[in-house]
């Protein structure tokens, strides 16, 4: 196989995101992670939600499924169960994954399918021109919350942790080398990997700028933090304010959704013959 490079995943379509959008960093990092892992355009599947994030497929050369708003995770689980050797990555947004698709997120985490979900977390609905998303912090002024958001924000990492996700991490769209590494680690993890990516929306959010984040973000290091304890990870996930942690909060080896399926002990379902063996024995059960 020829060496894969990030550029090898370009399609010729140019991004339509706003100049300076955090989505650029996430897109380039994902291309870099695929190249690093040797997953070529024909070798894997990316399932996208609907939102600014979801437009990424047009400039990402890789089998893609652009689902309905909120429904990317169920599609990804079905595709994975049909071919459990296929690398599957979900590209989703905070509204897509935690608003419309919140129930799917909780239940995917509970099942632990071998999938990676990358949440583009910018607190707003950009494609619909700037309403508050489920992660909008109290007081955040948007088109749908002119006096400032009043509801508690959803904490994607804490929710992933209590729902059963086996890899929980936070990245920053303004740190491509660090994000590429986190993505490669998430995709390599065997189990449900949640990577929440903090991403400035340069058009609809004048508060959470690159600078705002850079002043607060710090990286978890091997020396300072071991991602092996769910409760400690939960504590880290709740840390928000002057200091915001980046990196892997939690990682655990556990049987996946596919591991626990008796039908998936051998070849992928998609490669099996259709004619049932033991047909007469099956009929005998009903005589």
């Amino acid at each position: 196989m020829a060496t894969l490079t990030a550029e090898g995943y370009n399609t010729g379509f140019l991004p339509t995101w706003c100049p300076g959008c955090g989505d650029f960093g996430i897109w380039k990092s994902l291309q870099g992670a695929f190249a690093k892992l040797g997953i070529g355009p024909d070798d894997g599947l990316v399932v996208y939600g609907i939102g600014c994030h979801g437009n990424m497929y047009d400039w990402m050369k890789m089998y893609g499924f652009v689902g309905l708003h909120g429904r990317a995770l169920p599609v990804a689980q079905g595709a994975k169960l049909a071919n459990h050797t296929l690398p599957v990555v979900v590209v989703s947004g905070d509204g897509d994954c935690l608003g419309e698709g919140g129930n799917h997120f909780i239940h995917a985490a509970k099942r632990n399918p071998d999938l990676t979900v990358i949440i583009h977390d910018n607190e707003v609905y950009g494609l619909t021109t700037g309403q508050a998303s489920p992660t909008a912090k109290i007081g955040f002024k948007t088109k749908s919350t002119p006096e400032g958001a009043t509801d508690e924000p959803i904490n994607p990492l804490a929710l992933a942790l209590v729902s059963g996700a086996t890899f929980v991490a936070r990245g920053f769209a303004g740190d491509m080398p660090g994000l590429t590494e986190l993505m490669a680690a998430a995709i390599s993890h065997k189990g449900f990997a949640v990577l929440d990516v903090l991403q400035p929306c340069v058009t609809f959010d004048k508060v959470h700028t690159y600078q705002w984040y850079r002043q607060r973000l710090y990286k978890l290091t091997q020396e300072s933090y071991q991602p092996t304890d769910r409760l400690k990870a939960l504590e880290k996930a709740m840390e928000w304010g002057d200091k915001i942690p980046l990196g892997i909060l939690y990682k655990e080896d556990k049987l996946t959704s596919e591991d626990r399926e008796p039908a998936l002990t051998s070849a992928p379902l998609s490669s099996l013959p259709l004619e049932p063996a033991h047909w007469d024995e099956l009929l005998n059960e009903f005589i």
């Binding site: 399609t11 379509f13 355009p41 024909d42 070798d43 894997g44 599947l45 399932v47 609907i50 437009n55 497929y57 047009d58 050369k61 890789m62 089998y63 893609g64 499924f65 652009v66 689902g67 309905l68 429904r71 995770l73 169920p74 599609v75 990804a76 689980q77 079905g78 595709a79 994975k80 169960l81 049909a82 071919n83 296929l86 129930n103 799917h104 909780i106 239940h107 399926e261 008796p262 039908a263 998936l264 379902l269 998609s270 099996l272 013959p273 259709l274 004619e275 049932p276 063996a277 033991h278 047909w279 007469d280 099956l282 009929l283 009903f286 005589i287």
Partner: protein, 580 residues
């Protein structure tokens, strides 16, 4: 001797009423009889009134009628509730300890047969829950059948629980059998004529028939949220998942279910969902997605009495127009309506081929009556070879150069373009819920949009060659022509026999395939008919609405039923006679 008998067991939920019906049915198919069983129960686990009716015939028949030859009453309420169904000669088996009702209040000629169920249970040191097994033994004796078929069914039913459980159940059934021979040896009024079937029959409910069809067609993935009346399909698939390499996934909701099934489908396997009206309402968004990304999927829509939660355990044919019209936007689909378990099996195998051939959603419009009744199917029919057509599916390598493969090629004559699956070399594309170009990239230019919409909708014309036309059975130049669809066909055909016995010339037109609607064939058949009566299990005569839309023919007469209970042939015949 009787050619046909109808047996009914009734009692409190949780006392093995449902399993008694299946065991009696299997005992008689093993003895060469045709059987049919129907249940009636509220949406409760314990405490409600459960009923199973089993009809047994020496020759084939199509369903229930008003006959009741034997009622097994496991409590007082059972006699009181079914008093109006009793008639001269009906045997009522009851426990004298339950006798709070007055015999004088029962219709004349009812034969009371006291069976000390609780005393026998106590004597044999068994559980009170096993009274139904005593009643089964007693019933077999009254029907004049040998004990061996019942004991073989009991053995197969309980073998997984161990030899001790098998022996205990056989002993208890034998006690009921012996009690009848000792105390009612002169009672021969319900003895059956010998069964005429020489070939083996399976006894399955409609959901199991769909399950058998799905396994035969190579189903590999199903995501089904529990809902009456399709729960038996979940049990069937989950029980056989390992053996047949099927993944059955219980999703968090029906929305997830259909999206999972679509994901599995675009990953290259045959996949399905099953639900009822309320669950399907949640899947409408996903249905439209399947239409847009051209994903083959099979949807088993088991109808029950609505709206909303409705009457979950009662039957209706209320979703005909819903299934045809569901989904935002315009895209092709096929809607099949099996009339019985034979068709439920056969149409399921057909549905998977049609879904793959046209890359569209295909519906099996079933109902509670079909899904939860017990039907028999000849084993030889199920052993016939089945064709599998996966349509234009490319795996391995498309053989094209990089960037040349157009998954959604608008030039395809029949609207169906070759599809790859993730992992197929040189087959990269996007299954896109946005309007798209040949590769799946978003495209909203006017010309491209029109070409892609036309491509999808061209399939409707291509499908026409596969349509199963309406069937017509009965007399030439009939006085009455019934029009019906789905499971109402059985009762209507039986009604035809009743009317013919009264000298009427009758014909029945039935639609096994309701969408795309076979308009030309329907028009030809209906134009010739004199008096046409539409018969269906809903309040608004949805088939006649569809016929009017598609053919311009306005059927004036209708016999509709929407009380949740399946049609009886006598009801249809009587209403038809009123109009003469």
């Amino acid at each position: 001797m009787k050619d046909n008998i109808t047996w009914k067991i009734a009692g409190e939920a949780g006392f093995g009423i449902m399993s008694s019906g299946i065991m009696l049915a299997r005992a008689f198919t093993r003895a060469g009889y045709h059987v049919f069983a129907e249940n009636d129960y509220p949406s409760l686990i314990r405490g409600g009134h459960n009923i199973v009716s089993v009809r047994i015939g020496a020759k084939p028949f199509l369903g229930m009628n008003r006959d009741l030859h034997m009622l097994v009453a496991l409590n007082t309420e059972s006699v009181e509730k079914h008093r109006n169904e009793l008639r001269e000669g009906t045997l009522v088996l009851y426990d004298p300890r339950d006798k709070d009702w007055k015999a004088s209040e029962l219709p004349a000629g009812v034969k009371l047969m006291p069976l000390p169920l609780r005393d026998i249970v106590t004597q044999l040191n068994a559980d009170v829950i096993m009274r139904n097994t005593i009643a089964l033994g007693a019933s077999v004796a009254l029907l004049g059948a040998p004990f061996e078929h019942l004991s073989s069914v009991i053995r197969d039913q309980f073998i997984r629980k161990g030899a001790e459980v098998v022996d205990q159940n056989i002993k208890i059934a034998q006690a009921g059998f012996d009690y009848v021979h000792e105390h009612f040896s002169g009672e021969t009024s319900v003895v059956l004529s010998p069964g005429t079937y020489t070939e083996k029959l399976v006894v399955v409910n409609g959901s199991e028939a769909v399950g058998l069809g799905a396994v035969r067609a190579g189903l590999k993935f199903a995501a089904i949220y529990p809902m009456t009346p399709i729960n038996a399909l979940i049990t069937f698939l989950a029980d056989h998942a390992k053996e047949f390499n099927i993944v059955y996934k219980q999703p968090e909701d029906e929305i997830s279910g259909i999206n999972m099934a679509i994901g599995a489908s675009i990953s290259g396997v045959r996949s399905m969902v099953a639900t009822s009206g309320g669950g399907f309402a949640l899947q409408v968004e996903g249905l439209s997605l399947a239409g847009m990304v051209e994903a083959p999927i099979v949807i088993d829509l088991g109808m029950r009495a609505g709206p909303a939660t409705g009457m979950p355990t009662y039957t209706e044919q209320g979703e005909l127009l819903f299934a045809i019209h569901a989904g935002h936007g315009e895209f092709p689909r096929i809607v099949l309506a099996p009339a019985d378990a034979v068709e439920a099996y056969a149409f399921t195998t057909l549905a998977f081929n049609l879904a793959d051939r046209y890359q569209i959603p295909v519906f099996l419009l079933t109902d509670k009556y079909l899904n939860e009744s017990q039907w028999c199917i000849p084993v030889s029919f199920l052993q016939k070879p089945v064709t599998i057509d996966r349509g234009k599916l490319l795996t391995g390598d498309t053989g094209m150069k990089d960037g040349e493969f157009h998954r959604f090629d608008t030039e395809s004559v029949d609207g169906v373009s070759p599809r790859s699956v993730p992992g197929t070399k040189h087959g990269q594309y996007y299954a896109n819920s946005y309007e798209h170009d040949g590769t799946g990239h978003v495209a909203d230019d006017a010309k491209g949009r029109k070409a892609m919409a036309d491509k999808r909708l061209r399939k409707m014309a291509a499908i026409v060659k596969d349509i199963l036309p309406p069937t017509q059975i009965g007399d030439k130049d009939p006085d009455i022509t019934f029009v019906t669809w789905g499971t109402t066909r059985g009762p209507v055909l039986s009604a035809m026999d009743l009317l013919r016995a009264q000298g009427k010339k009758v014909s029945v037109i039935s639609f096994p395939w309701v969408f795309p609607f076979p308009a030309a064939e329907a028009k030809e058949l209906l134009t010739k008919a004199k008096r046409v009566i539409d018969v269906e299990q809903n309040a608004t005569a949805q088939l006649s609405q569809l016929i009017r839309t598609e053919t311009g023919i306005d059927i004036q007469e209708r016999i509709v039923k929407y009380d949740g209970r399946s049609f009886l042939p006598e009801e249809i015949a009587e209403q038809a006679m009123k109009g003469t």
